[in-house]
């Protein structure tokens, strides 16, 4: 009851002072206003100081931070704003403040002194004090006690998300580049997987396989086609190992043409090979059945061809091909793998 009476007196006094000021026709005046005089604890309100002054005069505003009581907290001081006045030659300068209070009960925003200079010296005008009533949160005691509320989720801004987005984009780019490079590397791999060459000299392979073919006695058992297929396979593999010509994927004519351009310079050996391959083609593709003597002689020709074209290295390091002395004291058979 007492507080309400005091508040009424203050408001009346403010009104009176303002009225008296106007009556006296003073060119300088200051007004303090708030959004509301009754707030809940922690609520933020605007406090405006509006100084009415001549256009040419300068009024010094007090430092707001130091002037407030402990009950009032200044959150933010906005830049001053100059407004037009209704009277000519006068302006209004407004200082807007954002304030709050965390103490319940009646609090007072104290008066502020605004100084200005005139011909006789320095004078000041004083803003009226403003009363504010801070209410606490009402507790409904009839209801049960609730648990503590968790922190409220603040909405995410784009600026907060931007670093994460950039990091995700960079990661995606790296993954894409990795996949692209892997695919590109895969694409440039050789067309077909070439079977690896046996790790032995070509003629060693050829002699061993020809011996095995001889032991199998294929043509003697009526498997002439298989016999010639196997015979040409051995010779083609030998040529591939010996001269590094892709004989397995070439036809007879192509193989013979390739050999003409290779280091094979033994015409007799070339003719032997040509006869074997062409006869084999006839057996394989034209159902031809050579006489038994021919089958035997083609195998012998194959042995002779390998003997004539095998790779040998003489003691002095000079390489040559073909038959060498059997005692081999000064002959060293060199692996093709070392030469290629």
């Amino acid at each position: 009851m007492v507080k309400r009476g005091t508040l009424g007196s203050v408001i009346f006094l403010m009104f009176l002072l303002a009225f008296i000021g106007q009556l006296r026709g003073q060119p300088y005046s200051v007004r303090a206003t708030v959004d509301t005089n009754r707030i809940q604890i922690g609520d933020q309100i605007h406090l405006d100081y509006t100084v009415n002054q001549p256009e040419t005069a300068r009024v010094a505003f007090p430092s707001m931070e130091q002037r407030f009581s402990q009950d009032i907290e200044l959150i933010r001081a906005y830049p001053r704003d100059t407004l037009e006045s209704k009277s000519s030659g006068m302006i209004r300068v407004r200082q807007r403040l954002l304030i709050t209070s965390f103490d319940s009960g009646a609090v007072e925003i104290p008066s502020m002194a605004f100084k200005y200079r005139h011909q006789q010296g320095v004078d000041s005008i004083v803003s009226p004090p403003v009363s504010l009533f801070v209410e606490t949160v009402r507790v409904d005691t009839t209801r049960s006690i609730f648990g503590i509320k968790g922190p409220l989720g603040a909405p995410l801004s784009f600026a907060e998300l931007l670093p994460y987005l950039l990091a995700a984009l960079a990661l995606a780019g790296l993954i894409w580049a990795g996949i692209y490079l892997w695919k590109r590397r895969k694409k440039h791999q050789p067309a077909a997987e070439t079977p690896s060459k046996p790790d032995e000299p070509a003629h060693v392979y050829a002699f061993r396989e020809l011996d095995r073919l001889k032991e199998q006695r294929l043509w003697q058992n009526g498997q002439v086609k298989l016999y010639y297929t196997r015979l040409t396979e051995i010779l083609r593999t030998y040529l591939w190992m010996r001269y590094d010509i892709k004989t397995l994927e070439r036809t007879t004519d192509e193989i013979l043409l390739s050999l003409q351009n290779s280091e094979l310079n033994d015409q007799q050996a070339y003719d032997q090979l040509s006869t074997i391959l062409k006869t084999a083609d006839l057996v394989k593709f034209a159902r031809m059945e050579p006489a038994p003597g021919e089958n035997e002689s083609h195998l012998e020709s194959a042995y002779a061809f390998v003997r004539a074209t095998r790779y040998v290295e003489q003691a002095g390091g000079q390489e040559t091909e073909g038959d060498q002395p059997e005692n081999g004291e000064n002959v060293n058979v060199k692996s093709e793998q070392q030469t290629q």
Binding site: K186, K187, H188, Q189, A191, A192, E193, T229, K246, L248, E249, R250, T251, T252, D253, E254, D281, K284, F285, A286, R287, M288, E289, P290, A291, E294
Partner: protein
């Protein structure tokens, strides 16, 4: 040396039946300088009853080769210039009203002949192309209510220009598959071109003599089908065609994303048939891997659908066929 009777007999027959091939080659050589591959491909098409699509820039003797061949064979020849305003009726024929007989009568189109040169086939819209390709497939034409069988031999030789693609109607993949061979013709060699110039500046342009009858061709076609093809060669053909469909199974993984579709069973059939015809031209009664390789590019190049990835990498169907041939083991 003993030979299986069938192949020996076949070889003998083929030596007799294929004698006209040398005569055709001789007569063609009088008029066409170089272009051996073109002439061979025309013969393969003629002997295996397959139509041929020729692709090459203008002035490479495409039309001259075809007209010369028809003159040598004593066959009727019509040239149809495909244009954007051509109608199916202009090609096949139509029904016209005879005022004298007071009834509709059939007016046969230029397709009723032995050799048809469809010049610049891609200049006409799809409906005209369809009409021609249907006739190629069915070998008969229906006008009104009447169906007419086309004369034998019936061979369509179409040309298309690889340049000037503006205002053209490219043949759809399904229709281009009807051509047994797609032959790409290149420029002649320097010495060949010198002869061409001399030949054209001479007082008289050489002409080919008629040395073969259409019946010889029809009979030869029957012999071509009898040419022996071993199981190993069949397997080789299938490996090649399957490699166009599943390159990854043949160590050609890098082509996997580049081929949208590979050769159809028609490709396998045509490859075998063309290889037989090639063996016949070489006067052999059996097919060897060389025959398959000789016709492989012409049979397969238009039957492989390339992806955008292949186009971006500048990989052509030609490259794919070449690499397949280099990757598959020859029997």
């Amino acid at each position: 040396m003993n030979q299986t009777v069938n192949v020996q007999e076949l070889n003998e027959r083929i030596r007799n039946e294929s004698s006209f091939v040398d005569m055709i080659n001789m007569e063609m050589d009088k008029v066409i300088v170089g272009q051996k591959h073109l002439v061979e491909s025309l013969l393969v098409g003629l002997l295996s009853d397959g139509h041929v699509l020729l692709e090459g820039v203008p002035g490479l003797a495409k039309t001259l080769a075809i007209s010369t061949l028809s003159g040598i064979v004593d066959a009727r020849f019509n040239r149809i210039q495909f244009t954007p305003d051509l109608l199916p009726a202009d090609l096949l024929g139509t029904m016209i009203y005879s005022q004298q007989k007071e009834q509709f009568m059939v007016k046969k189109g230029p397709i009723f002949t032995n050799f048809v040169l469809a010049d610049e086939i891609n200049r006409s819209p799809a409906k005209v192309q369809s009409a021609l390709l249907e006739a190629m497939q069915e070998r008969q034409i229906t006008i009104g209510e009447e169906t007419f069988k086309l004369d034998q031999p019936f061979l369509v030789l179409a040309t298309q220009n690889p340049i000037e693609q503006e205002g053209t109607y490219p043949l759809p993949e399904a229709q281009v598959d009807r051509f047994m061979l797609k032959v790409v013709i290149d420029y002649p060699q320097l010495e060949e071109e010198k002869l061409i110039v001399r030949q054209n500046l001479a007082k008289e342009f050489p002409t080919a003599n008629q040395v073969v009858q259409p019946d010889d061709i029809i009979r030869a076609r029957g012999v071509v089908k009898e040419v022996y093809i071993d199981e190993k060669i069949e397997r080789y053909i299938l490996d090649i065609v399957f490699a166009t469909r599943y390159p990854q199974h043949y160590g050609l993984d890098h082509f996997q994303g580049m081929i949208n579709y590979g050769g159809s069973p028609r490709a396998s059939i045509n490859l075998a048939l063309a290889a037989k015809a090639y063996a016949f031209i070489k006067r052999r009664g059996y097919v060897i891997p060389e025959d398959v390789r000789a016709v492989c590019h012409d049979v397969l190049r238009h039957r492989i659908g390339l992806s955008y990835e292949a186009e971006a990498e500048n990989v052509t169907s030609e490259d794919i066929v070449t690499q397949i041939l280099n990757a598959i083991e020859v029997p």
